[in-house]
Structure formats: structure tokens, C-alpha cells
């Protein structure tokens, strides 16, 4: 190796060593959240404040003092303690909170939503709307005296789907089926269903009850509807022209409260009264399992006996 190469290599080597020795404590202390006071040869523990807002670009005030950074940003090398944090943007309501900065830790306020001072309102449809539904596939359905209509989410592409306008007064519920091909609607006395697909749109009256209807649900995976009335829980068959099979699954002891349907498990929860072992009437939470259990079906198949044909097997 030539002497000149040797010297250049030595310079490069020692410069690298010095650079490593100088940079390592600086980078590590920064990463760990320490601040070095070079004048007083002291090291302080600091914390980090991370602030993000929607919309971004909002001003930040710490203890009333405006920072130069706009959201989203992280404010580093803060001494631990309480700070009054304000996030402001012209045209939006301000956001403020007292936040505690802890040593070597990050305090986050990253879900701030700034609400506009002036809310934008847009008329999506024309008049005459009695009820509406929004489907999962981005359509709005309008129930009007003049028929059933459908538009996109902005109210555009308005189409008349059916001339049916005999919607019950005081509809208390509207629910889409899981495939969005039908929806049911009901008032306290009447339950109907709209068939959107397949074929032309059709509206059927499904059930007219004597007892007030409280709620209705799609029976999981089959053509039935669960109807909860003031008196009982019914299953109403959807198919079948003329007569429909209606089965009363459970009769309430008293008017039910807090009926909740767990769609994932197909279970209906409700509160009903009964007389306990202490002969005192009390409220109990009940669960009615409506969904056919997968393993129950398998077991039924396995246990199913072959029909006796009367022939001897060979």
C-alpha cells in the first residue's frame, strides 16, 4: 500500500471512529427522549406530544403559546408535566384539552376531529318523502305516496321502482335482508315486504296482527321473519301464496322490554317476568336461539337412519 493511500485510509478511519463516537450518544439520547444541555453539561428527560387532526393543517397552542408546526406533527423535547393543548383552524370549532406529558413517553392526541362552523346541507331528494332507507350497496330508497323510488347516494339517477303507495302510517321499522334483495317495513299493526330482486319490484303485505308489533327480524338464512309482538314471538313464513304458516314460538308473561337480536349467532335476547323459586315475580333475561347450529345439522345427518325398505341386504 502506498504511503499516500495509507494516510488517506487512516484519516478516513479515524474520522469514521470519531463520527461514530459523537453521533451515537446524540442519536440514542434523541431516540430515548433525552435532551442534552451542552452549556450546563446536563441531560434532561423529555416527552413527546403527537397531535393529528382532521382536517390537517390546524394550528397548535401549548399553554396558550402558538407553535410553528401545523397538524399532524410531533412536538419533541417537552419537559414532563401538564400542558393545555389547543388545536385551532379557521372555520372550525376549536379543540382543547389538558394533557400530561410523561418522561421518555409519547402522549398522543391523534383522533381529533374539528367540526366546521357552517355545516353543509344538501337536499338530496324532492318533496313528498314519507320514509327512506339506505342500502349497503349505496342506494337510497324513498317511500312516497306516489310509489317506491330509488336514487344513488347523492339523490341522482332517481328511478320509480313501483307504483305502490299504500305505506302504513307510523312505520316503526325498516330492515334490509342480508343480500339487500328485499326489505321489510312495519308499523305497530302491519308488516310488509318489498321484493327488489329478482324481476319487477313487488310489494307484499305479509302480516297484519291483532297484537301491537314491537319489532321484526329476518330469520337467519331462510324465508321467514321473526315478529315480536306485545304478546309473543312469532315466525312468519314468507313464501306460499294464500295462507302463510305462522308459529308462535314464545308467549310473554308480560310486555317484553329490551328485545335485542344478535345477528351473528341468530339469538334473540329479551327480558320477561316469571315467578322465581322464592315465589316472587322478577325480570329475567332470556335467549331464544333461532339459528340452526351447524354441528346440530351435521349430527342430524349422521344419525339419520336409512328408511326401512323391507328388502334384505345382500
Amino acid at each position: 500500500m502506498r504511503p499516500r493511500d495509507k494516510v488517506m485510509r487512516a484519516i478516513a478511519f479515524y474520522f469514521s471512529v470519531i463520527l461514530f463516537c459523537v453521533l451515537l450518544p446524540v442519536i440514542l439520547s434523541y431516540a430515548l427522549g433525552y435532551q442534552i444541555d451542552y452549556y450546563n453539561f446536563k441531560i434532561y428527560k423529555t416527552g413527546i406530544l403527537y397531535i393529528a387532526s382532521r382536517p390537517a393543517g390546524a394550528s397548535i397552542y401549548l399553554n396558550g403559546v402558538m407553535r410553528q408546526d401545523l397538524t399532524p406533527t410531533r412536538i419533541e423535547e417537552l419537559k414532563p408535566g401538564k400542558y393545555k393543548v389547543e388545536v385551532r383552524k379557521d372555520g372550525f370549532y376549536p379543540w382543547e384539552k389538558d394533557m400530561t406529558v410523561r418522561p421518555n413517553m409519547v402522549t398522543k392526541a391523534d383522533h381529533i376531529v374539528l367540526f366546521s362552523l357552517t355545516q353543509e346541507m344538501k337536499a338530496v331528494s324532492q318533496g313528498g318523502i314519507r320514509y327512506f332507507l339506505v342500502s349497503n350497496n349505496n342506494y337510497i330508497y324513498y317511500m312516497k305516496r306516489s310509489g317506491l323510488f330509488r336514487s344513488d347516494m347523492d339523490g341522482a339517477d332517481l328511478r320509480k321502482l313501483s307504483s305502490y303507495g299504500n305505506w302504513p302510517d307510523n312505520i316503526i321499522g325498516r330492515k334490509f335482508s342480508s343480500n339487500n334483495n328485499e326489505f321489510l317495513f312495519f308499523s305497530s299493526s302491519r308488516l310488509g315486504m318489498v321484493h327488489l330482486q329478482p324481476g319487477p319490484v313487488r310489494v307484499d303485505d305479509v302480516f297484519i296482527g291483532q297484537d301491537p308489533i314491537l319489532d321484526a327480524f329476518w330469520y337467519p338464512g331462510a324465508g321467514y321473519i321473526i315478529v315480536v309482538t306485545d304478546k309473543d314471538i312469532k315466525v312468519v313464513e314468507l313464501s306460499g301464496a294464500g295462507t302463510r304458516n305462522i308459529v308462535s314460538l314464545y308467549k310473554f308473561n308480560s310486555s317484553p322490554q329490551n328485545v335485542r337480536y344478535d345477528e351473528n349467532n341468530g339469538s334473540l335476547y329479551f327480558i320477561d317476568t316469571r315467578i322465581g323459586v322464592d315465589s316472587v315475580e322478577s325480570n329475567y333475561l332470556y335467549r331464544l336461539d333461532l339459528k340452526e347450529r351447524f354441528f346440530d345439522g351435521i349430527m342430524q345427518l349422521l344419525l339419520k337412519k336409512e328408511p326401512d325398505t323391507g328388502y334384505e341386504k345382500r
Binding site: R2, F20, Y30, A31, G33, I48, N104, M105
Partner: protein, 502 residues
């Protein structure tokens, strides 16, 4: 004997044990003490960036010297030299030994033609083709055909067949090279040529020399203060088929060339690699290449180092020898081929037990030299095996496994940005690599489209990916095999050409 066996196994286990302890230890600590791992990762990242920058500077120094010296008229410089220590340039014979397996004329012919084109008196040049008997009749016939075609252009053209299954030998290049060198010895003895007057170059079959190679080698051999206590190492480049090779293969081979350029600037650590040259006197004195080791190119250096009690060095010579990029038509076969080739190179870790036991037996080498050289070998193989794993796979672990509490700490929050910043700082190294690679690139062959120049730049975008998956894995594989005593056999990297030699 049992004690020797114990020591050998102990030193075989150490590199793999260190590597696996590091990887498993860091992985486990990422669960238990993510903060410690994060501190380690930042420290290592910084060390790595600075090391890469430092090595890039060394590469630039080496390149500057290569650019200057490769175009010198070395024969003219030799003529200006008088006899030194009883030897003048005109006395020097060059023997070029090609240990051949199944490489055909398509590979060997360009290599021999490059010898014919070299600026050195051909009546002072001897070519030896040492063909493996196990390669079959075709390989032998090819060698004879080459001899017939080229023998009149050199002083001698020897073709010899290395018998298979000789006692004490494994299927390795070193055994074949030794057989060829012994054939040369017979010739020199009959012609009464002093061994010190002969410089032997042991080349891979695809090695094409620079026109000035033998002039430059002769010059350095003559002026060397102790010419028989030195090996002479050119800069290996992989230009033969570089325009036709896959980008992944090009990147890996360029990395090898760069490492060799860097090593020329660190002569105290410099060890012979691939094609190199040495005095035939030295080769005979140390009893030739080892017969039972795969990494013959580096082991011969250590054999000499031990034989001469530490007074042995490698002299860098700034001319290039060009070889083939190990490539295939498809990407996956290319990756597999490159992986196997790099694993064979990484098998150089077998040098560590070899020198450690050699140092234990040799009482004349100073202790500090033994420690330093052993450490250098161990550290280089260890770093090779862990760096890409740490930078790529260990670095994100504290964030992944550290849990919500760690992510809320300043370190958990800063680690990704600090790592990214340090990663960006390594761009300097990338620019240096691109610059030097373009300078080393041979002229574009006629059958290659001009647009390929663009690929020569853009291929570097693959560098992080190639480094992540092929940077350390071959070394881990080799060290694990050595640790478990599952010794590797020599696997010839099959040479294939898809175009003319560049």
C-alpha cells in the same frame, strides 16, 4: 489426536454458535426487553452506515489507483528495472494453471486467447490444463484439442488428468490444482528452471486476464522485498458475460469485486481470493494447495502464513482478471446458482478452525498477531452472517413484539424514523457503487440493446432486496453446516455463456 479433534470441532462450532446466539438472542430479547434491542439496533445501524461509508471511500481510493495503474505500460516499467536480489524481469516465467472440471472450449478458449493477447513474451509462458478424470472423456478430448490449437503459442502447454479417488483427497479444486502444479514441477525439473523464476497463477477456467496482467505481476514480483513470501492478487471483475447476466447476479458479483477492491486498501487483512498468483518456489515449499479443503484460494494463503511463521502477505496488483457472472436464463435458477456460489465462498469460514489450530501449534508467530488475525477472520464471517438479518429482520421486532407500552415510549416512537434516516444516509454508498460499477463496465456488445445502459443504473433499486435475502443467508447456511459437522463438498459453479465475451 483426540484432543486435536476436540479443538477442531470447537473452532468449527464457534462461528455458527456466535451467529445463532446473536440472532436468537436478539429475537428473544425483542419480546423481553424491546428497549435493549432498539438501542442495539440503532447502534448497529449507525455503525453499519459509517462502516459502509468508510468502505466506500476505500473503494474509491482503490478505484482511483486501478484506473491509473491498469493502463500503464508495465513491460516498459519492467525494462527499466535492473536485476533485484539476483532476479531480473527477463528471467521470469509465468505458469498459468487452469484446474478444469467440465468446462468446455466455449469457456476455456477465451481464457487462453486472453493469455495469447497478453503483453508478455510467450516463450516465457507455460499453460497447464489439469482436467478432472471424473469429468469424463469429453473433457479430456476438449483439453487435448485446445492444446493442439494453442500449444505453439506458448513455451509449453501441458494437459494432465487428475485421477479420482486419490488417498487423502476430497473432490475439491485444490486437489486438482496440486496435481497440475506437480506436473509443472516435473517440467521445470527436467528443464532445470529455478522455481523462484516461475510465478504460478491459479485461475478459474473462465478467467480472462488483462493485457498488462503479466507485466504488472512481473514488476511487483521483482520489486517485492520478499517475493517468495507474498501472494499477488489482481482485482477480480465479472465482465465476461455481465451484459447478458441477470440483474440479481450482476449485483452480487459486483459486490464481490467491490469487496476485493476494498481489501486491497486493507493489506494487513488481505487474503487471496479466487484467481491469484504466487512464486512457484513458495508453492513447493508449503507443499501445494490443501487436498481436503474447499476454499483452496484462501487456505493457501493461511498455509503460507503458518509455514513462514506469520511473515507472509498479499500484494495487491491493480489490474483486473475477468470472470463469468454465475447466471441462468430464469430468475429463480439464477438465485439458486448465486446462493450456492456464495455459500461455497462463505464456506471459507473453514479457515477459522484451520488457522486457530495452526496458531495453537505454531509458537513463533507473536501472540498479538494470532489474536488479531483470528479475530479478523471470525469477525468478517460473523458480520457477513448477521448484518442483513439485523438491519432487515431484527430492526422492526421491538415495534412488532414490544407491545403497546413500548410503542408509547419515545424509543418506540422514534425507532422507525431514526432507522429510516440512517438507512437514507447509506445512499452515499449506493451512489459510489453505481459510479464504480459503471466505470468497470466493459463496452456494450453489439447484440445488446442500448437501453440496457439504463438497466445498469436502475438495477441498483434491487440492492436492498438482494441484500436482505441473499446478503446473510448463504453465510448462515455455511456456518450452520460447519457447526453441525455436515461438511460441504465442492460444487462447481457451472459456467454458461449467453453471448460473446465482453
Amino acid at each position: 489426536m483426540r484432543r486435536d479433534r476436540f479443538h477442531k470441532r470447537l473452532f468449527e462450532i464457534i462461528p455458527g454458535l456466535l451467529t445463532w446466539s446473536t440472532i436468537i438472542g436478539l429475537f428473544a430479547l425483542a419480546f423481553i426487553k424491546p428497549l435493549w434491542v432498539a438501542i442495539f439496533v440503532i447502534t448497529f445501524d449507525l455503525y453499519w452506515v459509517i462502516r459502509m461509508t468508510y468502505l466506500s471511500l476505500l473503494m474509491l481510493f482503490a478505484y482511483r489507483r486501478l484506473a491509473k495503474e491498469r493502463n500503464l505500460d508495465w513491460l516498459k516499467k519492467c525494462e527499466s528495472l535492473g536485476p533485484m536480489k539476483g532476479l531480473a524481469p527477463k528471467d521470469i516465467y509465468h505458469a498459468v494453471l487452469f484446474p478444469v472440471h467440465k468446462e468446455g472450449p466455449d469457456i476455456l478458449k477465451p481464457s487462453i486467447k486472453s493469455l495469447e493477447s497478453a503483453r508478455y513474451p510467450k516463450e516465457k509462458m507455460i499453460v497447464i490444463l489439469s482436467v478432472e478424470e471424473r469429468a469424463g472423456r469429453k473433457a479430456w478430448d476438449n483439453a487435448l484439442a485446445l492444446k493442439k490449437e494453442h500449444q505453439n503459442n506458448f513455451r509449453n502447454f501441458l494437459v494432465t488428468s487428475h485421477p479420482q479417488n486419490l488417498p487423502g483427497e476430497i473432490k475439491a479444486k485444490g486437489a486438482n490444482a496440486t496435481w497440475g502444479a506437480k506436473a509443472l514441477k516435473g517440467l521445470l525439473d527436467s528443464d532445470k528452471i529455478d522455481y523462484e523464476h516461475v510465478v504460478i497463477s491459479c485461475f478459474d477456467a473462465d478467467t480472462c486476464v488483462d493485457r498488462e496482467y503479466f507485466g504488472c505481476l512481473t514488476y511487483h514480483y521483482i520489486i517485492s522485498p520478499d517475493r517468495t513470501r507474498s501472494s499477488y492478487q489482481p482485482i477480480p471483475v465479472y465482465n465476461n458475460n455481465i451484459w447478458h447476466a441477470r440483474s440479481i447476479a450482476r449485483l452480487l458479483e459486483l459486490g464481490s469485486s467491490f469487496m476485493q477492491m476494498i481489501e486491497t486498501m486493507r493489506v494487513e487483512k488481505f487474503v487471496t481470493f479466487s484467481s491469484h498468483s504466487m512464486s512457484f518456489r513458495t508453492l513447493v515449499d508449503v507443499d501445494y494447495w490443501p487436498l481436503d479443503m474447499i476454499s483452496d484460494d484462501s487456505v493457501i494463503y493461511w498455509k503460507c502464513f503458518l509455514h513462514f511463521n506469520g511473515s507472509y502477505s498479499v500484494v495487491p496488483i491493480y489490474v483486473t482478471v475477468s470472470m463469468d457472472v454465475a447466471t441462468e436464463a430464469g430468475i429463480l435458477p439464477t438465485i439458486i446458482k448465486q446462493y450456492k456460489q456464495k455459500r461455497r465462498w462463505a464456506w471459507g469460514v473453514e479457515n477459522f478452525p484451520y488457522i486457530a489450530i495452526g496458531f495453537m501449534r505454531n509458537k513463533k508467530i507473536p501472540f498479538i498477531v494470532k489474536v488479531r488475525r483470528s479475530f479478523n477472520v471470525l469477525e468478517s464471517h460473523y458480520t457477513w452472517a448477521v448484518w442483513a438479518i439485523i438491519v432487515t429482520f431484527i430492526a422492526p421486532l421491538p415495534i412488532i413484539f414490544g407491545g403497546g407500552l413500548f410503542r408509547q415510549t419515545a424509543m418506540g416512537y422514534n425507532l422507525p424514523s431514526v432507522s429510516a434516516t440512517l438507512f437514507n444516509m447509506s445512499l452515499f454508498t449506493l451512489f459510489v457503487c453505481i459510479f464504480v460499477s459503471m466505470k468497470l463496465l466493459p463496452p456494450r456488445p453489439k447484440d445488446v440493446k442500448p437501453q440496457k445502459h439504463l438497466i445498469m443504473y436502475t438495477q441498483w433499486l434491487l440492492a436492498p432486496l438482494v441484500a436482505a435475502f441473499l446478503g446473510s443467508t448463504p453465510a448462515i447456511d455455511a456456518q450452520t453446516r460447519l457447526m453441525l459437522g455436515k461438511y460441504m463438498h465442492f460444487q462447481v459453479t457451472e459456467k454458461k455463456r449467453r453471448g460473446e465475451v465482453g
